[in-house]
Symmetry: C2
Subunit: 204 residues, 2 copies
DNA sequence: TTGACACATGACATTGTGTCATTTAAAATA
DNA sequence: TATTTTAAATGACACAATGTCATGTGTCAA
């Protein structure tokens, strides 16, 4: 997390810094991003950056989580909207991710994140469902919303694995969309085919 | 690919360099690995490294592909062994990957690869199945081996997606094994649960 | 013997990181 | 208001890494 001094910053200065960091992380993936570029764009001295953040990663994950939290909320809203149909909720989340326009700031930020998913980055995306991360998952909110009637599960344990499966497939479809520069329509079509396969089972 | 001079190197010198590179890429993930460390361990001058490789990445992907090709061969052998049962073949591949001992050189190399899967790295692991990569996929070998009788598919198109699904789930199980430091047994158990869910379908 | 060529070498310019002693500003206290 | 204390800002610096390039070395064919 950023240090206290960051949050105490006057809004204008903080926003300028955030925009500068976003621009740098949109230009190149985390590992190639440079603090020097960020401070140059934000017009702050190098030492100040370290007054606000531990390091590059600290700034990056702050931005990534901020972006992602918004979508988590929308996902939970979708679950409500579709009476707990988890497939429909994932489909809506997937579509939401496709909406990002190439011209918008967020597009390249997201693209760089997805094409360079370290385990830590994937964690940010999936921790909402992660049994093991008690403090950041939102299973208590999600689980009761879900309509388990239509899911083909025997025990509570299997439910967790179902989420894991849907998540990995959704995630890979998203990565592929960006790596292959697919159109919205093409990406959605592939996604739906795979979701239907998941539903009906791969085996006779 | 490494340059010609690399392959012309006397075997001893080349092996020493390979071992040095492997050691460095086992120590830290690609983005943090340093050429300086490699040349120090290999006892070659810095300029020589650039005589042999384009850069760090060039050396890395050479080693990664070398390691992975061996396992691809074993995967195809498994497919034969189980009369084209793709689930059994994937299970054997998964088990093979679990066999890596913590003490062995390969363990940390693999771990660093899996916990920092950029799109390029994932490509190395999955290109054997990739329709779009005509020169490196091995679908011509694999497809005829597969027993499609027991697969729940309507068209040829769906077959490709089935592979995609199994691959993503297998891959994530592998990543999780390393990120959570799971035992061989625990990892295998989870993997089997998810493969069975895939077979029977997630939906009633 | 000489010239051509491939390869080897390490110093160098450049770019980046994280730290720290010092300065500046703001807030608390007398 | 004057003084002290605390927090924040600043940029020079030490260190590490990258990729290049001018120069050196050795081999082989003419």
């Amino acid at each position: 997390m950023p240090k206290l001094t960051f949050f105490n910053l006057p809004e204008m200065k903080r926003n300028k810094l955030i925009r500068a960091a976003e621009a740098e992380f949109s230009r190149v993936p985390l590992s190639q991003a440079s603090i020097s570029n960020i401070v140059k764009a934000a017009e702050i001295p190098r030492g100040s950056f370290y007054q606000y953040f531990e390091n590059k990663e600290d700034a990056y994950y702050f931005l990534l989580e901020e972006q992602w939290n918004k979508r988590q909320d929308k996902f939970i809203a979708s679950l409500n909207k579709y009476n707990g149909d988890i497939f429909e909720a994932f489909k809506e989340l997937f579509q939401l991710m496709l909406e990002e326009k190439k011209t918008e700031d967020g597009y390249n930020f997201l693209k760089n994140a997805l094409l360079n998913v370290t385990h830590e980055i994937e964690d940010v995306f999936t921790r909402i469902f992660d049994e093991k991360q008690i403090d950041t998952n939102r299973l208590k909110e999600i689980t009761p919303l879900i309509n388990k009637e239509c899911l083909n599960i025997s025990g509570e344990d299997e439910f967790y694995h179902i989420i894991q499966i849907i998540t990995s497939v959704t995630f890979r479809n998203l990565v592929e969309k960006y790596s292959r520069n697919m159109s919205k329509e093409e990406a959605l079509e592939n996604f739906i085919i795979e979701m239907n396969l998941l539903k009906k089972g791969l085996y006779k």
